[in-house]
């Protein structure tokens, strides 16, 4: 072994208790890199696309990339790949911290968890040894507390991944948490863990670094170059460390693309009150960094008498302007609750925002709210409904915990759910930024910003400034960003490195670590392959062409206020261009496209 893989996968059947060690198929691994790409390939081949996501037949793949745990920059990433109970399509939730690196150090490229345990259990991994242990005493325990308890039991050097009460109850917005405040947050991966009665995975490793690198000297050189580029770059060298992703609040508001009151407005006059600048001034204790990360975008904040993980840009926006709130302390508290209950800190507040609009319009009645009316900006409502969604009891609790699409459908007004493929849209108004809308509509995991982050060129000017208001060339840009993102995710590096690094740097890092000799073109073709196998998973899962759409509001209701007033998404113009760039017809790859990408197993499907 000298190719950055340990060539070993553990298959854990929770129904039977059987644990099998399987060799990694190295040829397939390199064809899909690892992580997101390989995880999807495994699930596609094993027929998971057609199963009920919350049944024992669904599988959870916890998977690292070849770079995970390496000395390359920001290389602590792992992914949870499964069939999403929220979208009914592929889920690939990506998280940092150190858990992924420790899984790799323990000698595992991936864990495949299948079946359903007879009673609540957790996995304890110590290098080669994997055991299934009784978790009944931990039922109902909040995520951070459970992290402490399992460290007490297994040693402070272990790393803990777990679900909170939301995952236990199979809440469709439940996240998988690790290292206390890191989350594989989206698409309901926590609910799948809950359906298997799997409460946690503890990992301890003797190894402290990756010792299977193909060309140690070449990797050292590639790392050195990459670190210098990251350090010299204003965003990755200083900007993110100083203010975190929260700095975006004022920028996105400044261009009039900060959705407000469930996207009824797009500019919030009081946004500075919950901005990165205000967060730094009032609550920041220090920046936080994941494994081997020079960027340190994380926020460690003072919160009452506690020190906790602080909010990213997304929850600041979603619990802020999207819910008509500008009280930063309340946002910090809600973000903490999401971490404790194990909830998607985008999906939950966006669903509360949708509920607030339903309440505003009289569709949700006060008597349904069990004493906490869903009024815009109500601090009490934000805190209380987050708790209720994390541990639902009443009918409305359950409806809201199932996400805005199901909630709004129930009340007969699906148009108020700002979601794609039943997953809530992140914090950038696609009417004001044309390219990001293509990505929202076509992301295989449902609406996501981190599948093709068009905000980089359209707002931040990285790698070059594009005009956010026009559609020209945006389809081709979106495809390239999506393909490169699929590569970075699959490698196990953090996407944030791409604010500074280009495709050549990733090729150099990957080639040095795995012994491959990919050119940039070949690397992007792998990204294209990954994107296409995800799409074929979705096709097998029952996705329809009309699922690549944006909410009606973005196509028919012009922005009502702020600098971008009057704008609409031009997706009907850009989507056909995007499909042409992908070699897709009616949302799916042609056989010719599949053959060109080496996806013969998908041809004719």
């Amino acid at each position: 072994m000298s190719d950055a893989y340990y060539e070993k996968i553990a298959r854990i059947n929770l129904t039977t208790g059987e644990i099998k060690v399987e060799p990694l198929d190295l040829e397939t691994a390199k064809k899909f890199i690892g992580g997101r790409g390989l995880g999807t390939k495994i699930l596609y081949d094993e027929g998971v696309a057609t199963v009920d996501p919350l049944s024992p037949e669904n599988k959870l793949v916890y998977i690292t990339g070849p770079m995970t745990g390496s000395n390359s920059p920001s290389s602590g990433r792992y992914m949870v790949v499964t069939k999403s109970p929220l979208t009914g399509m592929i889920a690939c939730a990506n998280s940092g911290g150190i858990w992924g690196a420790k899984l790799k150090f323990a000698g595992w490229d991936a864990l495949i968890v299948e079946g359903q345990a007879p009673d609540w259990c957790y996995l304890n991994i110590e290098d080669d040894k994997i055991e299934i242990l009784d978790a009944r005493e931990y039922l109902g325990v909040l995520s951070e507390e459970l992290d402490d308890k399992l460290k007490e039991k297994h040693g402070a050097e272990c790393s803990v991944l777990n679900i909170g009460p939301a995952g236990e109850k199979q809440v469709l917005l439940a996240a998988v948490m690790n290292d206390k405040d890191r989350a594989a947050g989206r698409s309901g991966t926590g609910a799948v863990m809950g359906s298997k009665k799997l409460k946690a995975i503890v990992v301890k490793a003797t190894r402290k670094q990756l010792d299977v690198i193909a060309d140690v000297d070449a990797l050292k050189e590639a790392n050195k170059r990459a670190l210098k580029i990251l350090s010299d770059n204003g965003v990755t060298g200083q900007g993110l460390r100083a203010l975190g992703t929260a700095v975006l609040v004022n920028i996105i508001n400044g261009i009039g693309a900060l959705p407000t009151k469930n996207w009824q407005e797009s500019y919030c006059p009081t946004a500075d009150q919950f901005s990165g600048e205000t967060l730094a001034e009032k609550y920041l204790k220090k920046p936080g960094a994941c494994y081997h990360c020079p960027i340190a975008c994380g926020r460690v904040i003072n919160h009452g008498d506690k020190v906790v993980g602080g909010p990213e840009y997304e929850p600041l926006w979603a619990y802020g302007s999207d819910c008509g709130n500008d009280d930063l302390y309340t946002i910090d508290e809600c973000n903490r609750l999401c971490n404790e209950y194990g909830l998607d800190a985008i999906g939950v507040p966006c669903t509360i925002a949708a509920a607030m609009e339903l309440y505003q319009r009289g569709y949700i009645k006060e008597e349904e709210c069990a004493g906490v009316p869903l009024e815009w900006g109500s601090k009490e409502a934000l805190v209380e409904w987050t708790k209720r969604m994390g541990d639902p009891e009443t009918e409305l609790d359950w409806l809201m915990s199932s996400g805005s699409a199901r909630l709004c459908e129930h009340y007969g007004h699906p148009e108020y759910s700002m979601s794609v493929k039943k997953q809530e849209i992140p914090a950038y108004d696609a009417r004001a930024i044309q390219g990001i809308g293509i990505n929202y509509a076509t992301a295989n995991c449902g609406a996501a910003h981190v599948r093709g982050y068009m905000i980089s060129p359209e707002v931040l000017g990285l790698p070059q400034q594009l005009d956010r208001t026009v559609t020209t060339d945006k389809a081709a840009w979106a495809k390239t960003f999506q393909d490169l993102t699929a590569v970075i995710d699959s490698m196990g590096n953090c996407l944030f490195t791409s604010f500074a690094l280009g495709a050549q740097e990733y090729a150099d890092l990957l080639n040095a670590a795995t012994g491959t000799s990919w050119t940039v073109e070949q690397l992007l073709e792998i990204g294209d392959r990954i994107y296409n196998i995800e799409r074929m998973f979705n096709k097998a899962a029952g996705m329809k062409p009309e699922d690549d759409r944006l909410p009606k509001r973005l196509l028919t209701e012009p922005i009502t206020n702020g600098p971008s007033k009057g704008m609409l998404s031009q997706l009907p113009l850009t989507l056909p261009e995007y499909y042409a760039a992908r070699g897709w017809v009616n949302a799916f790859p042609t056989d010719e496209t599949l053959k060109k990408l080496g996806l013969d197993e998908c041809v004719g499907k």
Partner: protein, 73 residues
């Protein structure tokens, strides 16, 4: 008047918002000079919410927003 809004590290020593008489600046670059901000330290320059350059003209009633290099997701 022209309103100038400073963000992130550009607030250091300058505050958040200030007003400049319109006759004292004809371009965004004039404002950068007035506040001693080297153009290379400004990654995003917005005039009324739209990306602009230092050479772009400014007029009475405009809102200028200045950001250093920042990113996020």
């Amino acid at each position: 008047m022209i309103e100038v809004r400073f963000f992130a590290t550009l607030r250091d020593g300058r505050g958040k918002i200030t007003q400049v008489p319109a006759e004292e600046a004809s371009t965004a670059g004039d404002l950068l000079r007035r506040f001693e901000i080297p153009p290379e330290e400004v990654a995003i320059l917005l005039i009324n919410g739209f990306h602009s350059k230092p050479e772009n003209p400014v007029k009475d009633g405009d809102v200028i927003s200045l950001f250093p290099p920042v990113g996020g997701g």
